[in-house]
């Protein structure tokens, strides 16, 4: 078993953070994992992305031909990664920015999420990528929600923040994740 997902959007949407939360959750579930950011010239402004590969044996190739899933948070990311999703793969799309845009592919499952509104429900409308992670976990079940929550508790909030402020950030992350988890589960049921 080996699964790959790319998180893509623009800098500041929390894509690298969210990918790392998935990677840490995978470790907690006893899985192997590989996390690789795009570190090319785009890291100096513009798009940002990271790839996470999860498996039950040591991860082979760090480059992926076809992604099992893609989280696309803006239009350039949709254009870039929609063609690289495997047939029957999952495309989690940030409808808050993408509106009615579609991938134009009939062989992938599209999940349109109003990430900004859902993140706001959780307490901070900036945590859009964490919402997408929630939906991804609900749909694909590669890792357990409990492990993601544990990872978010470890990672969220700057270490130098006062405890009270740090916990506010953690709560907002957990809220955004829960909102995504619910949205993904509801959408899967319909």
């Amino acid at each position: 078993m080996e699964h790959s997902v790319v998180f893509s959007g623009f800098g500041g949407q929390g894509l690298l953070f969210t990918g790392q939360a998935l990677a840490r959750a995978a470790i907690k579930d006893g899985l192997e994992v590989f996390w690789i950011p795009s570190y090319g010239p785009e890291m100096r402004g513009g798009t940002a992305s990271c790839t996470v590969i999860v498996g039950d044996s040591p991860i082979g190739s760090p480059v992926v031909d076809r992604f099992d899933a893609a989280v696309v948070m803006n239009l350039p990311s949709l254009r870039k990664f929609a063609p690289r999703v495997a047939g029957d793969g999952l495309l989690v799309m940030n409808a808050s920015l993408l509106g009615d845009e579609t991938s134009g592919r009939s062989d992938v499952r599209e999940l349109h999420l109003a990430c900004t509104a859902l993140a706001a429900q959780g307490g901070d409308d900036k945590l859009v990528s964490v919402v997408a992670l929630g939906a991804l976990v609900a749909r694909l079940g590669w890792v357990t929600p409990e492990s993601v929550r544990a990872a978010l508790r470890e990672m969220a909030g700057h270490k130098r923040l006062a405890n009270e402020d740090r916990w506010r950030v953690v709560e907002a992350d957990l809220g955004a994740f829960a909102a995504g988890l619910d949205a993904g589960a509801i959408d899967a049921a319909t």
Partner: protein, 405 residues
């Protein structure tokens, strides 16, 4: 020495060890894991200068070495860094320097001086694409530089090439051991992907034993002065020094060769690849085996000394070898020297910071295994990234098919 370790964490261990490992694993970035492994290996002094994709290694050192009261210097240049390292290493300190390709070129002169004067040091190269300033994408195009090049003179440097972050940490401890055992600089080379990626690693470090050196410059009070130098203007004396060096290199070649064999027992074909390319190859091999192509992986872990005897032995029972590199084809020359025409050796590589995908490698494998059926090699972005040779190579080496344009 044959290592049974598989790429990454896990294989070759008991279930209890695996479970203990899983519990203690943490997610670490390659550059940071290498830096921490050096610290845990007892690195006394680190000298560096920032360069992508290696910068986090220096940043980690900047914080941790000061916390521990050890020496960290961000030098004014790569030349400054490595010559400071030479001075520190001459005192018997455990010293490390790191950089990425263009920075390593600047350090080349001092590498020759360290080899000539028998000064131990570990040099980490997180390789990026060249030539010149090139780009910051991952690359293995410094193979020639690492194994044959850098400075002038008749010298060699042991070169270790990990394929995972966990292995990089383990090899770093080995690098210090080899450096001190043989009084030589040792290089650890990884491409930008291994520097930038994160993987779960066991936080179980190894600290090589400390030895008292009878050559280190520790102050001559109460004993005769020691001299560390590479200059000898008397040709007789200098030849003797060179003979001693060559003896040392033979000893290293005899005792330090490392490689990994994977799925080679029943293999009719083999991929020879190291580092990240070996991981891509592993996935390609899994796909090829699903399609009935019996292929395995031969992964050099020491690039020098190159596992030539082991590869030569293997080549006698193979129908062909595919070498995969993130370069125009550098290690493939050593593969061909080892194989000596016993089987065809094909090559597939990408340059400029691009990495071959598993399907690309699978295409090249199909072309090699279906050679007689004239399966065309895959075309990548308008050029033929795969080079195939007629089976009667090398007698008719000019008769190659599908050469690159």
């Amino acid at each position: 020495m044959k290592t049974e370790r598989e790429i990454g964490v896990g294989d070759g261990r008991t279930e209890a060890e695996l479970e203990a490992g899983r519990r203690s694993r943490v997610l670490m970035k390659g550059n940071e894991a290498i830096a921490e492994a050096a610290i845990q290996a007892g690195c006394d002094a680190y000298f560096g200068y920032p360069i992508t994709p290696q910068a986090e290694l220096l940043e980690w050192m900047a914080r941790r070495m000061l916390e521990l009261g050890r020496v960290f210097v961000q030098a004014e240049s790569e030349l400054g860094a490595i010559n400071m390292a030479l001075g520190a290493a001459a005192t018997g300190a455990r010293v490390m320097v790191s950089s990425s390709s263009p920075g390593i070129s600047l350090m080349a002169e001092a590498m020759s001086y360290m080899a000539g004067s028998g000064t131990p040091m570990v040099l980490v190269n997180i390789m990026r694409a060249g030539p010149g300033l090139g780009g910051i994408g991952p690359s293995q195009s410094d193979y020639f530089q690492a194994t044959k090049g850098h400075g002038h003179g008749d010298y060699r440097v042991p070169v270790l090439a990990p394929a995972s972050i966990g292995e990089a940490m383990e090899l770093l401890a080995s690098s210090f051991e080899m450096a001190e055992r043989y009084r030589t600089p040792v290089m650890l080379v990884a491409d930008g992907i291994l520097g930038q990626a994160m993987e779960p690693v066991d936080l179980r470090f190894r600290t090589p034993e400390r030895h008292a050196f009878d050559w280190a410059l520790t102050g001559a009070a109460g004993r005769p002065a020691r001299i560390i130098k590479s200059i000898d203007l008397d040709p007789e004396v200098l030849e003797k020094r060179n003979l001693d060096l060559q003896h040392k290199y033979r000893e290293i070649a005899r005792h330090e060769v490392r490689w990994e064999a994977w799925q080679l027992d029943d293999a009719e074909f083999a991929i020879v690849a190291y580092g990240t390319a070996a991981r891509v190859a592993r996935t390609a091999i899994t796909r090829a085996r699903e399609r009935g192509i019996k292929v395995g992986l031969f992964r050099p872990i020491t690039l020098w000394p190159f596992p030539e005897r082991e590869l030569a032995r293997l080549s006698r029972r193979l129908g062909g070898i595919l070498t995969v590199e993130l370069s125009s084809g550098q290690m493939v020359e050593d593969v061909r020297l080892a194989v000596e025409g016993r089987c065809p050796v094909a090559f597939h590589g990408r340059m400029g910071g691009l990495v071959p995908t598993p399907d690309e490698v699978l295409g090249a494998l199909k072309a090699l295994s279906g050679h007689h059926a004239h399966t065309p090699p895959p075309r990548v972005r308008g050029y033929e990234a795969t080079e195939l040779f007629e089976p009667d190579y090398p007698a008719h080496s000019g008769a190659r098919r599908g050469g690159r344009r």
